[in-house]
Symmetry: D2
Subunit: 363 residues, 4 copies
Amino acid sequence: MNTFGRIFRVTTYGESHGSGIGSIVDGCPFGLELTGEEIQIELDRRKPGKTCVETERKEPDQVEILSGIFEGKTLGTPISMLIRNVDVDSSKYEKLRDTPRPGHADLTWREKFGWIDWRGGGRASGRETVARVAAGAVAKKLLKKFGIEVIAYSKEIAGINIGEIEIKDVGKSQRIINASPVRTIDPRKGREMENAVLSAKNEKDSVGGVIEAIAVGVPTGLGEPIFDKLDADLAKALMSIPAVKGIEIGKGFELARMKGSEANDPLVIKNGKIQTKTNNCGGILGGISNGMPIILRVVIKPTSSIGKEQHTVDLRSMEETTIEIKGRHDPCIVPRAVPVVEAMISLVLADHSLISGFIPRKL
Amino acid sequence: MNTFGRIFRVTTYGESHGSGIGSIVDGCPFGLELTGEEIQIELDRRKPGKTCVETERKEPDQVEILSGIFEGKTLGTPISMLIRNVDVDSSKYEKLRDTPRPGHADLTWREKFGWIDWRGGGRASGRETVARVAAGAVAKKLLKKFGIEVIAYSKEIAGINIGEIEIKDVGKSQRIINASPVRTIDPRKGREMENAVLSAKNEKDSVGGVIEAIAVGVPTGLGEPIFDKLDADLAKALMSIPAVKGIEIGKGFELARMKGSEANDPLVIKNGKIQTKTNNCGGILGGISNGMPIILRVVIKPTSSIGKEQHTVDLRSMEETTIEIKGRHDPCIVPRAVPVVEAMISLVLADHSLISGFIPRKL
Amino acid sequence: MNTFGRIFRVTTYGESHGSGIGSIVDGCPFGLELTGEEIQIELDRRKPGKTCVETERKEPDQVEILSGIFEGKTLGTPISMLIRNVDVDSSKYEKLRDTPRPGHADLTWREKFGWIDWRGGGRASGRETVARVAAGAVAKKLLKKFGIEVIAYSKEIAGINIGEIEIKDVGKSQRIINASPVRTIDPRKGREMENAVLSAKNEKDSVGGVIEAIAVGVPTGLGEPIFDKLDADLAKALMSIPAVKGIEIGKGFELARMKGSEANDPLVIKNGKIQTKTNNCGGILGGISNGMPIILRVVIKPTSSIGKEQHTVDLRSMEETTIEIKGRHDPCIVPRAVPVVEAMISLVLADHSLISGFIPRKL
Amino acid sequence: MNTFGRIFRVTTYGESHGSGIGSIVDGCPFGLELTGEEIQIELDRRKPGKTCVETERKEPDQVEILSGIFEGKTLGTPISMLIRNVDVDSSKYEKLRDTPRPGHADLTWREKFGWIDWRGGGRASGRETVARVAAGAVAKKLLKKFGIEVIAYSKEIAGINIGEIEIKDVGKSQRIINASPVRTIDPRKGREMENAVLSAKNEKDSVGGVIEAIAVGVPTGLGEPIFDKLDADLAKALMSIPAVKGIEIGKGFELARMKGSEANDPLVIKNGKIQTKTNNCGGILGGISNGMPIILRVVIKPTSSIGKEQHTVDLRSMEETTIEIKGRHDPCIVPRAVPVVEAMISLVLADHSLISGFIPRKL
């Protein structure tokens, strides 16, 4: 439900227009140096309202750490982080109360729970992901201490694809991506993407895309077969992000058209260590990391909230009607989903690092 | 690890060349009529050695039910099913002991566990999936009692794609698929697929493909946000199947190039009930089923075991070498993965049906 | 770790002298009427500083609900409750930093975590239980709606035992217990207990006791054999409370000296329903509730923090030394543990009610 | 339900009069030397029909290992163990079908599951514990490799108590206990116990008792606060054993009448290491092991199945009636519960050793 992970565990809470959003990280080893600023940096990467391609809701997203850190280090006890909601404007939503928005969870949540918080999507809102990013920031810090780094970027937006790229320097790539309003690594393509997003915005429409992520420094041996394979847990983590409708590892769906002799990554020896010549498997074989970079992609559907007229149903009269969604929405959610993808991958890698014993319980 | 699910739970065990493979289903409601024959029917659909596109290993895959059923009905206690291994021939594997097969889990398992059963892949073998199918058969029977049916088929093999199809009559479609050696629903395309598989076999190579699955009769309200969303749990279940490297729900990766106004499924009223006009979301919104058919696809990589010469490493000398895998292998694993995909989907749906209360604990 | 339960789940956080203590309740059905006042009432029952037998730390223990409730009803989403720490005085603890207090978790936590919050016991403090009581208040409200009530009281303090008693009217008994400074149901014995506690306090010593709890209105059928039996889960829940060192159900340890013919509860028919004549089994047989009241007892050890001189070790010099604990401590923790016992029992019963389907997911 | 543990996990199945009883151990590290004989030795200690104080059912309880061991070592994959039922005689039970036995789970299971296996108690039978002992044997072997040993014995039977004893040499004590028909460590008291059991048997009645268990070599640091404390998990594990109705750690219920100054274990330095002078806390403080021996006791109720006439209800006519249970029953279950107590403690210690990192995942 609202808890994820086995040893490194995250519990989140909060509605979009309620008091706040929170995240509790349990199982982080004792003795990790961690400050609120480090968490804030990640939150700021996801924060709305910074560029023209984003919603105009202005949330400071200031994190308060309520527990788990003492004298600059983690205690091994739950790290509780609270982000208050500030810029809440529910007025636009009142009229949506009985006309579910197409592509949204309005109706499914209502049918499941009977009762929903109709203000801004309640807990089904993308705002929920702020809690994932806060938790992911803790995981990232822990992973980095053990040489693992996770980086994600917009691979494709509105059909504009940056093609195959190679990350050589994570830090440098990270700076390029952070500087890009659409969170991509190719500045020229980035400007094309921006234009496509703004053009969709002008049409009161939205666009989607593909996020690619790479984890480097991952040791061999992460992943627990049969069911808790590393790729299985990654798939679950990523598919749980709002708007994600698909995930592929390594060559992914391209493998359907490859032959075994092309798809298999030949084993070679480099610097005295066994590696694979290619990385079609994306760093995971038999559900266990093989020491090569983990590469994966997720598809992000176009933002469901659009200004264009759409067909829906009035739940009181049970008659068909139309809707034009006002509110403040991202015409493309891909850029802001980038840190969320990094966060979810980091949570899975931190958990598996602890389960497998690669990261010890006591630092 | 080797247990999957929360209420409807499956635990499996067994190595490819050990005594047998087994599956324990816990949490199945009491009072479900169930016979060994019903489980056997599903096992037979997965059984190797029936057609020219499959391995020549001949396994009777006869299930013995050890517990949980009394006087023809489930007791509510664990249903233990044992399938003995019979046609075991480990001779071909001895020479692979120290030369890991590219594309296989040989090396990752070895590095994780230190110690492996090198005979036929041990527990990393596709043979492990017989336990999933046995468990899935129980789930299927339970779901059917509540109007839910799951059907899968080869959507694409070796680049031959059957295009968009619609399942109107599950029973009839099931019979067509069962009759197809490549487990597809379009007999003409099926023959093309067969030829492509045989042609790869002749080249000592292998091919992959895409399996599509549909679940009909799914009620609204299955799925537990935020993390245990229905699509998240499906993604994990499916990605845990050997050879699966990607999964997409509804339009999946196509959504990256659609606009919001195209992707959103308009709400309409049909026969007094709310439905969506299209089903681009694949029956799941916000992680919760919306009452429309669930549609998803997984990519199956080409079989890793091929006769062609491949580059690998000799672990004793730590020198590069080549390998030609003899053994008995499926040149295309897609057809035999079809019932496994059905099984994993059924397990997830049964579990979520029980969690949500759609299926009661006592029948 | 810091999460408890399967469907109705609680996650807690917070150190004694940190920012605050919190509790997140996940899995509470949607549509339960719930206010902050109802939670506050339970917190007030546990609040310190009200009577002479308690610590002088004055904590308002005011709860803030951060999520999960909207328009007076639960949303089915996590209910996050935060209780800020106010009356924090860490000065007395500084000198205890390197001299672990006998009977306390100081040394075990330190050895496990390497790093501890030495201020007031950190997370090992009894203050942690405020989060349990907050979560228990939600469970209690839910259970009451379905006719289940849980009541606990001091059965014995400092050797003064109230003997066998029968609860006929839960509401009336609750009022008597609430009015008693030592939270017992026999006012005369209560005064004896008070005197014994004050006498121990004067000697800079402490006393322990036994808490008895009864749950009425429990239906038949709660409990999940083999391992998640109702009594097994109750035992875990109660043993996890600080200072609890034993638990017994029904006649408990007395059963060691009874014969089968005395211990077995004969089945009889009363008002057309099957009941047991006696209730030696305490309402649970084979791990499943039998419809009779659940009766159990836990032993609470005397408060570890005492003013008397005690032998301990100086961790810097690794030499033996003595310690006299100043701080503000309860000379007897039994009365304040009473609502904690009720809370933990309520959490287990709520969880099992949801697992078994007795309480539905949607009210 | 039928799975126990987090990393070192056990799943069991099987009805008393079904095909067999089984146990799957998941999460055992790779590379542990383990043979079927070692498991058989533990099963033989629990096996019925060896002495006059036990049931006459003759079960060979021969274990077959189906998976997880290869070339004498564990693979890290699930270890599946099957014990076939042989001496099954259901004839005596047919007449009990509609007259629930007092003190048994007959009625509660029936009300919960609707449908029960009335033959010999089905899965509610004590026979289920054979699976616990098989799994416990694996845990014991693993623990011993890391210096942890668990030993249990009858502390009291029918009111005959052996008083406080000290275990100096586990191996020697184990041999004495194994040689005792009532599994106690004081041969003289053992003969008194035997006589008391036989005397109860002659009266067609039964007696109960108390089992004490000690774990030596336990390191500091096992136990996961707040909810998964070591004593909390032990309490759950032990309370899940049929017939156990209470558990206490260290001085347990005696602590109710002790003062803090008596109960607190003073810290001293012995051989350069910190220890406690007394061990009233039973080796666990704040839910974490402190390095001293873990000491606990459980109460075992008198066997519910007795030949004496008892009052019950006929479920068809819903009228009161009487019952005299024939079958083959232990007049005292305490001796045969001794290895079961050892098994459950071993499972908890193995799990916590892996969670805390004391035992690594790869040996």
